[in-house]
Symmetry: C2
Subunit: 219 residues, 2 copies
Amino acid sequence: MAANPPLTGGALTQARILDAAARLMSSIGITRTTTKEIAREAGCSEATLYKHFRDKEEIFVRVLHERLPPFAEMLAELPAQAGSSTVAAHLTEVARAAVPFYRRAFPMAGAVAASADLLAAHRAKLDLAVAGPHMPSAHLAEYLRAEQALGRISAAVDPAALAMLLIGACFHRAFLTLFFDGGEELAGAEQVRAAVRVEQDEQFVLATVRALLEPVAQG
Amino acid sequence: MAANPPLTGGALTQARILDAAARLMSSIGITRTTTKEIAREAGCSEATLYKHFRDKEEIFVRVLHERLPPFAEMLAELPAQAGSSTVAAHLTEVARAAVPFYRRAFPMAGAVAASADLLAAHRAKLDLAVAGPHMPSAHLAEYLRAEQALGRISAAVDPAALAMLLIGACFHRAFLTLFFDGGEELAGAEQVRAAVRVEQDEQFVLATVRALLEPVAQG
């Protein structure tokens, strides 16, 4: 496989600016990530930054699109894997990828959801059928439907609802662990950590998949 | 029961400012909600606003604490109801309350999560053991544990994992419906709406609770 040619000129500058913005957004937060800070981190002038991007919003939306691990793409390949390995193994793999993905995406998604303008810009730029925020659960539902057709999960359950349970739990966990991150000095931190199981992603993943696949109804 | 005495003086002004801020945060978004806009909406001067609040951040954190429906409190009463009605009915009630609660909370929670400073201010002010963002699933897990002790759900499942599945699905749905809200003009909007079931909260609630309680494993 041929490697991509190295970036040069304007494309290289753009890539440096987007990388710098992504680093700042994760470290100091999106509201403190100004064009001035981004330019400093990228080692260019603000004038250069504005030659490549209209405004801070355009940079945020580009980072959201281009600097996150390709989670929806990974899930797009899942339906073709129905029948292989076990259902539990596939769901475990999904949850293992989903938690860190959403933890990285959350501060950006949060800032976007908090601003009507940013949200409109983001929506307009997204190819919804490929990268819409509903696509991970849509792909997962398609996979579960295929497993249902193969008789590997009960015909009685709703694949879309199951998919939303798993993706939703990972999404919420990402928010909780972000919220309590670095919370050592908090009153009641021990209790919180026990409840949220902050440092035990793997335990969360296994318990969640087990809860999803084991019969709950008594008898 | 005696009614609370009506607010007067400074307390009334503070309440007006918080109500105005809550309205603006939901309508124009948190980034466009400036102290100038809040003062205008509350019918007071910016000077008056600053007599009652240190800055915009303090107003946001107060709104987050005092102007949201008391969802965690509702769930705190759930464990005592184990054994009454049916498990499905209780979970349905939880999901019906959770979706609109998180839809209202999301823009504020998102803005808070996007800013390291706001997050620290919010965490410091929260009584984590009462109103921490992990409390809804902690209360729900306690309820499920009580139902387990009564033999109304299988002893084999993990109540904490089940609780996180249900709360997480509602939290994620709130984000998705916010994201696609007013998205009539979007390309592929029909397809998106079908996948997200935007206008069908009740269908989401029933399908999710059913998926949670029905055996998934084949055979």
